[in-house]
Symmetry: none
Subunit: 244 residues, 2 copies
């Protein structure tokens, strides 16, 4: 394990949940909190009141206007979701997830009422489902408790040597966003989607399947070069009669 | 495991914590809540508000004037304590504790500020210490979350991850070969490899990274359609639904 995962709360609604999340983070050795557009603004007095031993985490929390910017330097993101999503992404329990952490990692939590949007989930590598009884609706802060608790449990039992092996730098989300921007611009100029209303779902599926490969930065570069080559269709010997 | 453990909150101070504990109990399949002399009396409106899916647990909670009466029918009690007590009692982590539950069991939690009194701890068979980082002061409801979560984990026999994963048929190697043939033919007509002798290794890397995504047959089809669209670059100019 290199460093403790970052906790990203996306559009959290209640200050008390932010504070309770920070408190649990401090209980279980997590230090970095990022907030994407908290509903009631920031700073939030209620969050501070509830944070107890986690006040410093609240004071150092970083604020982001949107999810993409909060994710820019993250290499591996786990999104907690209660309801199943129609995406072919890996789904793990918290315990299963902790076994494989080696990179710059984020635990991502959506807003209390609605959870994460699909466009946000697309940017995450793995979905986490906390096994529950009939009532599957976990409180936001309590989700954070479970993830942080499991992380700390794993930390205590994993030898750092084992965790450190073979950590090929994974692409950051910035790398992925660059690739997606390029690909989207190409596709928008073709007839790939056939009809407009199909674009959102087709585009989401394409992003999801590409991300599943967990590419390195170098691999993203290769793929982008490949796309560009196919898009430009230029032959190497610049044969004048080849392509328009 | 005979029946779900009972949760006993001893002199809880905040209604919110009682409600949050009930919510977590309902998340993780615990049903019976006992309250020993809650500070603000009972019923407690705030507890109900916070309980969410656990309101029935709040409504059915049983009230006791003292700890001994709340424990009367309990055969095995686990007391959560943050600070070590000077008593020769077994101390376990939550996970260790769950392994041995067979009897009418209680999870016992003390008041927020002070924790359980020693006379109360004497009545408990085993102490539970939740492993924490520097800040060892866990919120009461979050203690309940951890205990209930671990109990439910132990109860679970099947991994929901396996059940949740969409069992989309993976692509056959024939599908992959079809994709590779198409892609290779495009790339051979471009300047992607720059120099000929780099082709074998670049091509191998590209195949490897694509295969890592473990795509389904449908996903291979989508990807091939995407490649074709970019290769052909045709806009549907005559079509009113075309992209700009």
């Amino acid at each position: 394990m290199n460093e403790a995962p970052v906790v990203i709360l996306v559009r959290p609604q209640l200050g008390e949940n932010i504070g309770a999340a920070a408190r649990a983070m401090s209980n279980f050795g997590l230090g970095e909190l990022r907030l994407v557009a908290p509903r009631d603004g920031w700073p939030n007095q209620r969050a501070l009141e509830v944070a107890s031993g986690g006040t410093q985490i609240i004071e150092n929390a970083r604020l982001f206007p949107d999810f993409a910017s909060a994710m820019a330097d993250i290499e591996q993101a786990f999104a907690t979701t209660a309801r199943p999503r129609d995406m072919r992404k890996r789904v793990l329990t918290p315990k299963e997830a902790m076994a494989g952490l080696t990179r710059k990692t984020a635990f991502v939590f959506g807003p209390e009422r609605t959870g994460l949007e699909n466009e946000e989930i697309v940017l995450c590598d793995t979905l986490i489902t906390i096994p529950t009884a009939q009532n599957a609706s976990l409180n936001l802060a309590q989700c954070v408790v479970v993830m942080a608790y499991e992380w700390f449990q794993t930390m205590q039992t994993t030898s750092p040597a084992a965790a450190n092996e073979k950590a090929d730098a994974l692409a950051s989300k910035t790398d992925w966003l660059g690739l997606f921007e390029q690909l989207e611009s190409y596709l928008d100029q073709t007839n790939y989607y056939r009809v407009n209303h199909k674009k959102p779902i087709m585009w989401q599926n394409l992003q999801t399947m590409l991300m599943r490969g967990a590419w390195s930065e170098q691999e993203i570069r290769s793929f982008r070069g490949m796309l560009r080559a196919i898009w430009e269709r230029r032959r190497r010997n610049s044969d004048p009669e080849t392509y328009p």
